[in-house]
């Protein structure tokens, strides 16, 4: 499996899509200038823009690498040669996922360093009243990366059942959008404000809440920007949720992929 991970990483580094996405990272250079236009809270704005840019780049990577990795292998007939080796389909799929996930972690680390540099620069020129908690910022980026790794697992699950890139790519985007609001919807349907809603809609919203990934739990941007303390138990719970959810998605994907006909 490690060789599959290595091959996957090599493929991503040599991929033009990746190179194009990484050019987007050059936008980091503009952040101090844009933030300075606000005239106040320059550091906070630098932090907000940096974290948002990281999130955006990781989203692009998750959708395009996660959504096309397996599909491309099948479409371009690479699977015929690779699965003709003494390698189980599960190992192959998990290896492809592992390589993509590892790359997202690496990208998050590199982008994180760029964000640290940008925020340091901004705070040196426009000192802030509130101290910057670097560890919170690092944990915020880490959980952002975990969120997108979970999204990659979703993309892989879609890839195992799809014969085109539409479902892996657009299904992943739809899941991302829905998963970002499930927490708010769930809280709304369980609040007194939702009295007007029919029980069926409430039930449906609750089912979707448990079925779809809850990306809201991974969002720690407010804590990082305003130096708020991190909820330790909440982080542990989110990490456990990540492990269980990714495990379930990959198990389902591996089961489906092992039965898929390579015609």
């Amino acid at each position: 499996m490690t060789t599959i991970i290595r091959i996957t990483l090599k493929g991503i580094f040599r991929d033009r899509v990746f190179q194009g996405i990484m050019v987007t990272a050059c936008a980091f250079l503009l952040i101090p200038v844009i933030a300075s236009l606000s005239m106040r809270q320059v550091t906070e704005l630098s932090l907000t823009l940096s974290l948002s840019l990281i999130s955006f780049i990781l989203l692009l990577l998750a959708v395009f690498l996660g959504g096309t990795s397996l599909w491309k292998d099948i479409e371009r007939r690479y699977t015929f040669s690779v699965l003709g080796l003494p390698l189980s389909r599960q190992s192959y799929m998990i290896g492809r996922f592992g390589g993509t996930a590892l790359f997202v972690l690496l990208a998050a680390a590199v982008l994180g360093v760029a964000a640290f540099a940008v925020v340091s620069y901004s705070s040196a020129i426009y000192p802030t009243d509130r101290p910057i908690v670097w560890s919170t910022m690092a944990i915020c980026i880490l959980f952002d990366a975990l969120k997108y790794i979970l999204l990659i697992a979703v993309a892989f699950l879609f890839s195992t059942v799809s014969t085109s890139f539409f479902l892996p790519v657009f299904g992943t985007i739809a899941t991302f959008l829905a998963g970002g609001v499930t927490q708010q919807v769930f809280e709304f349907v369980n609040s007194p404000a939702s009295k007007a809603l029919s029980p069926l809609v409430k039930k449906l919203a609750t089912i979707l809440y448990y079925l779809l990934p809850n990306f809201g739990a991974f969002d720690l941007k407010v804590n990082a920007i305003y130096s708020l303390p991190l909820p330790f138990e909440g982080l542990l719970l989110t990490a456990a949720y990540f492990v269980v959810y990714v495990g379930l998605l990959l198990s389902a994907a591996a089961t489906i992929f092992s039965r898929r006909e390579m015609r």
Binding site: R77, F80, G84, L85, E261
Partner: protein, 287 residues
């Protein structure tokens, strides 16, 4: 132990409008270790389906296939196999050298042995100069040769080659035939599909003809060729120095030779005239 054992292999694909298409109808076939077996059939006959089932790429509707005694659904059964898919495609961002190294590592080859074998196969398949270039820049023939190189690198006992000569120029085809002869000499089993009868005639011990998902016949190539002899072309020189070519029926050859001695004719060459593999193949498929 047989190299490949196929028992009652049946494959049905979903067709249009909820219909089912029988791609393979209860195939039984055994290929011995050290045997070169040609799997002959027209396009769409079921050759690639059979190979994909043997390689575990498709799941049989019923029946089973075994490689070296192991069920082909198990990944471990492929440890003994060098497989070349039909119209192969490989990660095109890798170079041939990187891909061969990846394949070798999947077979748990030691680094030193892998480096040596990789050099050997890349040189043999005339890919040495291009070994460091990404495969996306390779021609179809070069990709086909990478396919052969990756099948050969770990020196397995069983080779399953789906249309190995496809996309190759005459030099490449001759090279593949050479490689198969070499594997045969080293006691390896080669199971390859083709629709080119000449390939089978030259390199195979046995041939199986498949059409419309049914295995029609399995026969020794030598037997087919012997059976197909209809007569001989005899090139003689008469006492006056004139040369002529005569057709002599199979049963009359001995008598003709004796008579030519009496007639003071010198025999310069005798060539058998026979139905070739193509005629045999067409006859079987037409039935």
């Amino acid at each position: 132990m047989n190299a490949i054992e196929i028992t009652g292999l049946y494959k049905q694909f979903p067709g249009k409008r909820m219909t089912k298409v029988d791609a393979l109808k209860g195939l039984d076939l055994t290929i011995a270790a050290g045997e070169v077996f040609g799997f002959l059939g027209p396009n769409g006959a079921g050759k690639s389906t059979t190979i994909k089932l043997v390689m575990g790429l498709l799941r049989p509707t019923s029946g089973r296939a075994q490689i070296m005694g192991m069920d082909s659904n198990q990944a471990e059964s492929r440890r003994h196999v060098g497989y070349l898919p039909e119209n192969p495609a490989f990660y095109d961002y890798l170079s041939a050298e990187e891909y061969i190294s990846f394949v070798g590592s999947q077979f748990k080859m030691e680094a030193a042995l892998l480096a040596q074998r990789s050099e050997d196969v890349l040189k043999r398949l005339d890919l040495w100069d291009a070994r460091k270039r990404p495969m996306r820049g390779y021609s179809k023939g070069m990709v086909q040769r990478v396919g052969l190189a990756q099948a050969l690198v770990h020196d397995p006992d069983v080779y399953i080659l789906d249309e190995p000569m496809s996309g190759l120029d005459p030099i490449g085809r001759a090279l593949v035939k050479d490689i198969i002869f070499d594997l045969k000499a080293r006691g390896k089993c080669v199971f390859f599909s083709t629709h080119i009868t000449d390939d089978v005639e030259k390199v195979c011990d046995r041939v199986g003809v498949i059409n419309k998902g049914e295995l029609l016949v399995v026969e020794n190539v030598e037997t087919i060729l012997q059976r197909g002899v209809q007569g001989y072309s005899v090139f003689v020189m008469n006492p006056d120095g004139a040369k002529e070519e005569l057709f002599i029926e199979k049963a009359h050859l001995q008598a003709f030779i004796q008579q030519s001695v009496v007639n003071q004719q010198s025999i310069e060459k005798i060539e058998p005239r026979r139905k070739d593999m193509e005629a045999f193949f067409l006859e079987i498929v037409a039935q």
